[in-house]
Amino acid sequence: MSFFAHAGHWLTSVAYFIPVLVFLIWLGVTQLRERRRRRPRGRGD
């Protein structure tokens, strides 16, 4: 209950870190694409 009652407080705190989260997701996606690009293609390709 208290978790939701204080949502106003902690949601504001979370808002500060949304850019970091967005950036980390973008970095993860970039890394994955890079890894796929480097992987040698299979026989069927």
């Binding site: 504001t12 500060y16 949304i18 850019p19 950036f23 970095l27």
Partner: protein, 456 residues
């Protein structure tokens, strides 16, 4: 003092919510990153470019006579801190020692170092006493002194790390760490340890690598365009002083302690820490510690954990940068980019302690006239009052955001320039910086969140 420190005043009329400033700051960093990638294709800061100040001014400013006067003033102030701490009132705000140590020395000298270079080197009382003792010993014995021991390479900056950590513990953990008597005793203990170390390893070797405050202020002085070489003050290219930093063992840890201690100081005022701290205190209480000790150990745990977290976050960034290739180890990258943490440390210190320096710094004039707090008026300034209207709450916030954003843009610039020098392929250099950008965005968001916690 802590109330003044963080300007606990509400900001009622900001045009946008505070957290949106964090998003704006992140955008500024991303735009700066793109601009650097497009407009800064060659490393520019790695080459030395130093010119003496014209007209003999550089030689005059760093002359032996000036150095002697500055050293004597430093020794006088050190003596004043010990004397007022031992003999004066034990009220922290009425005694000269706490305000001088925590505000004028610890914060004021950071600002002076950034503006005018390594000024502390000239005023350093321990260095002045060390050289005076060496001169006296040579004169009395009429012979050369024995050669000091070689400073152990593996020791690097670790003694400085221990010194700055101890200072942070005194400031943030020890419950009566602002009591004048305790500060005077701590100053004497630190002075004794410094004199012994200088006797063993030589004055300059210890000052350059081991003496905590010399190393600390020297890091910030590298942001200044002024640098002293061979007793001549000169000008250098902005930021090139940091690019020339030669990291040794413990340099990364030292900056993690600086950023981590400011972070903990900010977080300790917020609901996150005040929510979990009582449980930790109860845990130590149950182990049989007195309530005061339980509080102190809890804060020590919090401070240490925050420093390790900051260190880990930076190392994570360098591990990520390693993953793009180039053949560097994470440790090599951590050392290669450690100078980028200096403007971040400055941003944290400036933003967090801006109002403390601005408000409590004014108390210096009253305290210098009445150092013991016994009603004396040595210089006729004892009745000077602190003007709290010198800056408003909103203006403070804008300055703080400016410090945070400015510091991180400088860090990004330094990292970009170092990457260009380090990697043979420009594209690889830019890609490695995605991770440093993530670190900068993380540090920026954390800094603004901490300020909102402290000011909220």
């Amino acid at each position: 003092m802590s109330l003044i420190a963080h300007g606990l005043v509400g900001r009622s009329d900001l045009p946008i919510p505070e957290w949106l400033f964090g998003w704006g700051a992140a955008m500024v960093l991303v735009v700066s990153f793109v601009a650097l990638a497009l407009l800064w294709p060659q490393p520019k800061l790695q080459r030395e470019h130093w010119r003496a100040l014209p007209g003999g001014l550089g030689r005059a400013l760093a002359s032996r006579a000036v150095e002697l006067i500055c050293g004597a003033l430093g020794v006088f102030l050190l003596g004043m801190v010990i004397w007022s701490g031992l003999r004066g009132t034990q009220s922290p705000t009425a005694n000269f020692a706490p305000t001088f140590i925590y505000v004028i020395f610890w914060l004021g000298l950071v600002a002076v170092s950034v503006l005018f270079g390594d000024v502390f080197r000239a005023f350093n009382p321990w260095r002045a006493v060390g050289w005076a003792c060496a001169w006296l010993a040579r004169t009395v014995s009429r012979a050369e002194l024995p050669k000091p021991l070689d400073y152990p390479r593996q020791l690097g900056n670790w003694p400085a790390v221990a010194g700055i950590f101890a200072f942070a513990v005194m400031e943030l953990v020890v419950s009566d760490g602002d009591e004048p008597h305790n500060l005077a005793v701590a100053t004497m203990v630190y002075s004794a340890a410094t004199f012994i170390a200088m006797a063993l390893y030589g004055v300059e070797a210890w000052i350059e690598r081991g003496e905590a405050f010399s190393v600390y202020f020297n890091l910030f002085s590298r942001l200044s365009p002024f640098e002293t070489r061979d007793h001549v003050v000169g000008l250098r290219r902005p930021l090139s002083g940091l690019a020339a930093l030669k990291p040794v063992a413990g340099t990364v840890a030292l900056l993690a302690v600086v950023i981590g201690s400011v972070t903990f100081d900010g977080a300790a005022e917020g609901p996150l820490w005040t929510g979990i701290a009582p449980d930790i205190v109860n845990f130590f209480d149950d182990l049989g510690l007195s309530t005061q000790r339980a509080f102190e150990v809890t804060f020590l745990v919090g401070l240490t954990a925050t420093i390790l977290l900051i260190h880990g976050f930076y190392r994570l960034g360098t591990i990520g940068a390693r993953s793009v290739g180039g053949g560097f180890s994470a440790l090599q990258l951590a050392r290669a980019f450690v100078h980028t943490l200096v403007p971040i440390a400055l941003a944290y210190v400036a933003a967090h302690y801006f109002t403390l320096l601005l408000f409590q710094g004014q108390a210096f004039w009253a305290l210098i006239s009445d150092p013991l707090g016994n009603g004396s008026d040595l210089f006729g300034t004892a009745d000077r009052q602190v003007d709290y209207a010198v800056i408003g709450a909103n203006a403070t916030w804008y300055w703080q955001v400016g410090f945070v954003v400015g510091g991180h843009v400088l860090a990004l610039t330094l990292a970009h320039d170092r990457a260009l020098a380090l990697y043979e392929d420009t594209k690889l250099a830019v890609r490695s910086q995605y991770w440093m950008l993530a670190v900068m965005v993380g540090f920026t968001s954390l800094a603004l969140w901490l300020l909102s916690q402290a000011n909220g």
